[in-house]
Amino acid sequence: MIQMEYYLVVSTIMMFAGIYGFLTRRNTLAILISIELMLNATDVNFAVFNRFLFPQGMEGHFFALFSIAISAAETAIAIAIMINIYRNIRSIQVRNLDELKW
Protein backbone atom coordinates (compact mmCIF):
# COMPACT_ATOMS: atom_id res chain seq x y z
CA MET A 1 0.00 0.00 0.00
CA ILE A 2 1.53 3.23 -1.12
CA GLN A 3 1.38 5.89 1.55
CA MET A 4 -0.05 9.26 0.76
CA GLU A 5 3.18 11.16 1.31
CA TYR A 6 4.89 9.44 -1.62
CA TYR A 7 2.27 10.79 -4.00
CA LEU A 8 2.71 14.25 -2.49
CA VAL A 9 6.47 14.13 -3.08
CA VAL A 10 5.85 13.41 -6.76
CA SER A 11 3.44 16.30 -7.10
CA THR A 12 5.84 18.61 -5.24
CA ILE A 13 8.63 17.76 -7.68
CA MET A 14 6.31 18.48 -10.60
CA MET A 15 5.20 21.77 -9.07
CA PHE A 16 8.67 23.10 -8.43
CA ALA A 17 9.93 21.97 -11.81
CA GLY A 18 7.14 24.17 -13.18
CA ILE A 19 8.20 27.07 -10.96
CA TYR A 20 11.83 26.73 -12.05
CA GLY A 21 10.78 26.71 -15.69
CA PHE A 22 8.56 29.73 -15.14
CA LEU A 23 11.40 31.73 -13.62
CA THR A 24 14.21 30.87 -16.00
CA ARG A 25 12.78 30.44 -19.47
CA ARG A 26 12.73 33.17 -22.07
CA ASN A 27 10.33 31.77 -24.59
CA THR A 28 6.76 32.66 -23.69
CA LEU A 29 5.43 29.30 -24.79
CA ALA A 30 7.94 27.59 -22.51
CA ILE A 31 6.57 29.70 -19.66
CA LEU A 32 3.06 28.53 -20.54
CA ILE A 33 4.26 24.91 -20.53
CA SER A 34 5.63 25.48 -17.02
CA ILE A 35 2.24 26.82 -15.96
CA GLU A 36 0.67 23.60 -17.26
CA LEU A 37 3.10 21.62 -15.12
CA MET A 38 2.08 23.57 -12.02
CA LEU A 39 -1.63 23.10 -12.71
CA ASN A 40 -1.10 19.41 -13.28
CA ALA A 41 0.68 19.08 -9.95
CA THR A 42 -2.24 20.65 -8.09
CA ASP A 43 -4.67 18.30 -9.83
CA VAL A 44 -2.66 15.32 -8.60
CA ASN A 45 -2.74 16.79 -5.10
CA PHE A 46 -6.52 17.12 -5.17
CA ALA A 47 -7.01 13.56 -6.36
CA VAL A 48 -4.60 12.18 -3.76
CA PHE A 49 -6.24 14.04 -0.89
CA ASN A 50 -9.66 12.89 -1.99
CA ARG A 51 -8.59 9.28 -2.22
CA PHE A 52 -6.74 9.03 1.06
CA LEU A 53 -8.37 11.47 3.43
CA PHE A 54 -12.00 11.60 2.26
CA PRO A 55 -12.70 8.35 0.44
CA GLN A 56 -16.46 8.64 0.76
CA GLY A 57 -16.71 12.08 -0.86
CA MET A 58 -15.90 13.16 -4.38
CA GLU A 59 -14.98 16.81 -3.94
CA GLY A 60 -11.31 16.48 -4.86
CA HIS A 61 -12.13 14.37 -7.89
CA PHE A 62 -14.56 16.94 -9.24
CA PHE A 63 -12.26 19.81 -8.43
CA ALA A 64 -9.50 18.15 -10.47
CA LEU A 65 -11.98 17.53 -13.29
CA PHE A 66 -13.06 21.15 -13.46
CA SER A 67 -9.47 22.31 -13.08
CA ILE A 68 -8.53 20.29 -16.18
CA ALA A 69 -11.35 21.91 -18.11
CA ILE A 70 -10.43 25.42 -16.97
CA SER A 71 -6.74 25.01 -17.74
CA ALA A 72 -7.63 23.80 -21.24
CA ALA A 73 -9.68 26.96 -21.81
CA GLU A 74 -6.97 29.19 -20.36
CA THR A 75 -4.28 27.57 -22.49
CA ALA A 76 -6.31 28.17 -25.62
CA ILE A 77 -6.69 31.88 -24.82
CA ALA A 78 -3.03 32.27 -23.89
CA ILE A 79 -1.88 30.65 -27.12
CA ALA A 80 -4.24 32.87 -29.12
CA ILE A 81 -2.67 35.91 -27.46
CA MET A 82 0.82 34.62 -28.22
CA ILE A 83 -0.03 34.06 -31.87
CA ASN A 84 -1.36 37.59 -32.09
CA ILE A 85 1.80 38.94 -30.48
CA TYR A 86 3.93 37.00 -32.92
CA ARG A 87 1.96 38.43 -35.79
CA ASN A 88 2.67 41.94 -34.58
CA ILE A 89 6.28 41.90 -33.46
CA ARG A 90 7.58 38.65 -35.00
CA SER A 91 9.05 37.44 -31.74
CA ILE A 92 7.84 35.72 -28.61
CA GLN A 93 10.86 36.15 -26.44
CA VAL A 94 10.01 37.78 -23.17
CA ARG A 95 12.61 40.53 -23.45
CA ASN A 96 10.97 41.83 -26.64
CA LEU A 97 7.59 42.31 -24.98
CA ASP A 98 8.27 45.70 -23.50
CA GLU A 99 5.99 48.08 -25.34
CA LEU A 100 2.30 48.81 -25.00
CA LYS A 101 0.09 49.42 -27.97
CA TRP A 102 0.83 53.02 -28.74
Partner: protein, 170 residues
Protein backbone atom coordinates in the same frame (compact mmCIF):
# COMPACT_ATOMS: atom_id res chain seq x y z
CA UNK B 1 1.34 -9.90 -4.94
CA UNK B 2 -1.11 -7.14 -5.70
CA UNK B 3 0.53 -4.76 -3.31
CA UNK B 4 3.98 -5.50 -4.71
CA UNK B 5 2.81 -4.82 -8.24
CA UNK B 6 1.24 -1.59 -7.09
CA UNK B 7 4.50 -0.55 -5.48
CA UNK B 8 6.50 -1.31 -8.61
CA UNK B 9 4.07 0.55 -10.85
CA UNK B 10 4.07 3.54 -8.53
CA UNK B 11 7.86 3.76 -8.41
CA UNK B 12 8.15 3.44 -12.18
CA UNK B 13 5.56 6.18 -12.67
CA UNK B 14 7.12 8.42 -10.02
CA UNK B 15 10.62 8.24 -11.47
CA UNK B 16 9.23 8.71 -14.98
CA UNK B 17 7.23 11.78 -14.00
CA UNK B 18 10.08 13.35 -12.01
CA UNK B 19 12.62 12.82 -14.79
CA UNK B 20 10.36 14.05 -17.55
CA UNK B 21 9.21 17.15 -15.68
CA UNK B 22 12.81 18.16 -14.94
CA UNK B 23 13.72 17.62 -18.56
CA UNK B 24 10.75 19.71 -19.67
CA UNK B 25 12.11 22.80 -18.03
CA UNK B 26 15.82 22.34 -18.72
CA UNK B 27 15.93 21.39 -22.36
CA UNK B 28 16.96 23.97 -24.91
CA UNK B 29 14.69 23.09 -27.75
CA UNK B 30 11.08 23.86 -27.17
CA UNK B 31 9.56 21.10 -29.28
CA UNK B 32 11.32 18.62 -27.02
CA UNK B 33 9.89 20.48 -24.06
CA UNK B 34 6.38 19.94 -25.41
CA UNK B 35 7.12 16.25 -25.96
CA UNK B 36 8.37 15.80 -22.42
CA UNK B 37 5.22 17.56 -21.21
CA UNK B 38 3.21 14.97 -23.11
CA UNK B 39 5.06 12.22 -21.26
CA UNK B 40 4.45 13.93 -17.91
CA UNK B 41 0.74 14.10 -18.66
CA UNK B 42 0.65 10.43 -19.56
CA UNK B 43 2.42 9.64 -16.31
CA UNK B 44 -0.10 11.70 -14.38
CA UNK B 45 -2.93 9.80 -16.04
CA UNK B 46 -1.18 6.62 -14.88
CA UNK B 47 -1.24 7.94 -11.32
CA UNK B 48 -4.95 8.62 -11.60
CA UNK B 49 -5.52 5.06 -12.79
CA UNK B 50 -3.44 3.81 -9.87
CA UNK B 51 -5.63 5.76 -7.43
CA UNK B 52 -8.78 4.24 -8.92
CA UNK B 53 -10.01 7.36 -10.69
CA UNK B 54 -10.39 5.91 -14.14
CA UNK B 55 -12.73 8.62 -15.43
CA UNK B 56 -10.32 11.33 -14.36
CA UNK B 57 -7.43 9.50 -16.01
CA UNK B 58 -9.38 9.16 -19.24
CA UNK B 59 -10.29 12.87 -19.19
CA UNK B 60 -6.66 13.72 -18.50
CA UNK B 61 -5.52 11.76 -21.54
CA UNK B 62 -8.22 13.15 -23.80
CA UNK B 63 -8.13 16.80 -22.80
CA UNK B 64 -4.61 17.40 -21.55
CA UNK B 65 -2.47 14.99 -23.51
CA UNK B 66 -4.64 14.93 -26.59
CA UNK B 67 -5.76 18.53 -26.79
CA UNK B 68 -3.47 20.90 -24.97
CA UNK B 69 -0.17 19.40 -26.12
CA UNK B 70 -1.41 19.42 -29.72
CA UNK B 71 -2.26 23.12 -29.28
CA UNK B 72 1.22 23.78 -27.94
CA UNK B 73 2.95 21.91 -30.72
CA UNK B 74 1.25 23.69 -33.54
CA UNK B 75 1.53 27.07 -31.87
CA UNK B 76 5.27 26.44 -31.43
CA UNK B 77 5.56 25.57 -35.09
CA UNK B 78 3.48 28.60 -36.07
CA UNK B 79 5.71 30.99 -34.16
CA UNK B 80 8.91 29.55 -35.59
CA UNK B 81 10.13 28.21 -32.30
CA UNK B 82 11.69 25.15 -33.77
CA UNK B 83 14.47 26.84 -35.66
CA UNK B 84 16.23 28.64 -32.89
CA UNK B 85 17.44 27.13 -29.72
CA UNK B 86 17.03 28.84 -26.40
CA UNK B 87 20.03 31.00 -25.63
CA UNK B 88 22.02 30.37 -22.55
CA UNK B 89 20.70 32.45 -19.72
CA UNK B 90 22.93 34.35 -17.38
CA UNK B 91 24.64 32.42 -14.66
CA UNK B 92 23.30 34.59 -11.87
CA UNK B 93 19.74 34.19 -13.05
CA UNK B 94 20.02 30.44 -13.33
CA UNK B 95 21.51 30.18 -9.87
CA UNK B 96 18.83 32.43 -8.40
CA UNK B 97 16.08 30.32 -9.97
CA UNK B 98 17.70 27.11 -8.84
CA UNK B 99 18.15 28.39 -5.31
CA UNK B 100 14.52 29.53 -5.13
CA UNK B 101 13.32 26.18 -6.40
CA UNK B 102 15.41 24.11 -4.04
CA UNK B 103 14.50 26.27 -1.06
CA UNK B 104 10.83 25.97 -1.99
CA UNK B 105 11.04 22.20 -2.36
CA UNK B 106 12.80 21.89 1.00
CA UNK B 107 10.21 24.00 2.82
CA UNK B 108 7.19 22.31 1.24
CA UNK B 109 8.54 18.79 1.73
CA UNK B 110 9.43 19.53 5.33
CA UNK B 111 5.95 20.80 6.10
CA UNK B 112 4.24 18.01 4.17
CA UNK B 113 6.18 15.16 5.67
CA UNK B 114 6.09 16.47 9.21
CA UNK B 115 2.35 16.96 9.19
CA UNK B 116 0.45 14.02 10.59
CA UNK B 117 -2.33 13.41 8.16
CA UNK B 118 -5.32 11.55 9.57
CA UNK B 119 -5.19 8.87 6.97
CA UNK B 120 -8.00 6.38 6.92
CA UNK B 121 -6.37 3.00 7.18
CA UNK B 122 -7.41 -0.23 5.49
CA UNK B 123 -8.28 1.30 2.19
CA UNK B 124 -9.74 -1.14 -0.26
CA UNK B 125 -8.63 -0.19 -3.76
CA UNK B 126 -11.86 0.42 -5.53
CA UNK B 127 -12.87 2.04 -8.73
CA UNK B 128 -15.30 4.90 -8.80
CA UNK B 129 -18.31 3.93 -10.88
CA UNK B 130 -19.33 6.12 -13.80
CA UNK B 131 -22.92 5.93 -12.59
CA UNK B 132 -22.05 7.73 -9.37
CA UNK B 133 -19.96 10.29 -11.26
CA UNK B 134 -22.83 11.03 -13.61
CA UNK B 135 -25.34 11.27 -10.79
CA UNK B 136 -23.08 13.62 -8.86
CA UNK B 137 -22.18 15.77 -11.82
CA UNK B 138 -25.70 16.57 -12.90
CA UNK B 139 -27.65 16.62 -9.65
CA UNK B 140 -28.70 19.84 -7.99
CA UNK B 141 -28.85 18.41 -4.47
CA UNK B 142 -26.47 19.28 -1.68
CA UNK B 143 -23.47 17.47 -3.15
CA UNK B 144 -24.38 18.01 -6.78
CA UNK B 145 -22.15 19.72 -9.27
CA UNK B 146 -24.56 20.97 -11.88
CA UNK B 147 -23.77 24.60 -11.16
CA UNK B 148 -20.00 24.33 -11.81
CA UNK B 149 -20.80 22.16 -14.81
CA UNK B 150 -22.92 24.86 -16.41
CA UNK B 151 -20.51 27.59 -15.36
CA UNK B 152 -17.62 25.76 -17.03
CA UNK B 153 -19.62 25.47 -20.22
CA UNK B 154 -20.25 29.23 -20.21
CA UNK B 155 -16.54 29.77 -19.55
CA UNK B 156 -15.57 27.57 -22.48
CA UNK B 157 -18.00 29.47 -24.70
CA UNK B 158 -16.39 32.74 -23.62
CA UNK B 159 -12.95 31.31 -24.37
CA UNK B 160 -14.02 30.16 -27.81
CA UNK B 161 -15.37 33.58 -28.67
CA UNK B 162 -12.37 35.31 -27.13
CA UNK B 163 -9.91 33.09 -28.97
CA UNK B 164 -11.55 33.71 -32.31
CA UNK B 165 -11.68 37.46 -31.67
CA UNK B 166 -8.05 37.67 -30.62
CA UNK B 167 -6.48 35.59 -33.32
CA UNK B 168 -8.54 36.51 -36.36
CA UNK B 169 -7.05 38.02 -39.49
CA UNK B 170 -7.31 41.74 -39.67
Amino acid sequence: MGSTLETIVFYVLAIFIATMSVMTVTTQRIVRSATYLLFVLFGTAGIYFLLGYTFLGAVQIMVYAGGIVVLYVFSILLTSGEGDRAEKIKRSRLLAGLFTTIAGIAIVLFITLKHKFLQTTDLVPQEVSIHSIGMDLLSSDKYGYVLPFEAVSVLILACIIGGVMIARKR
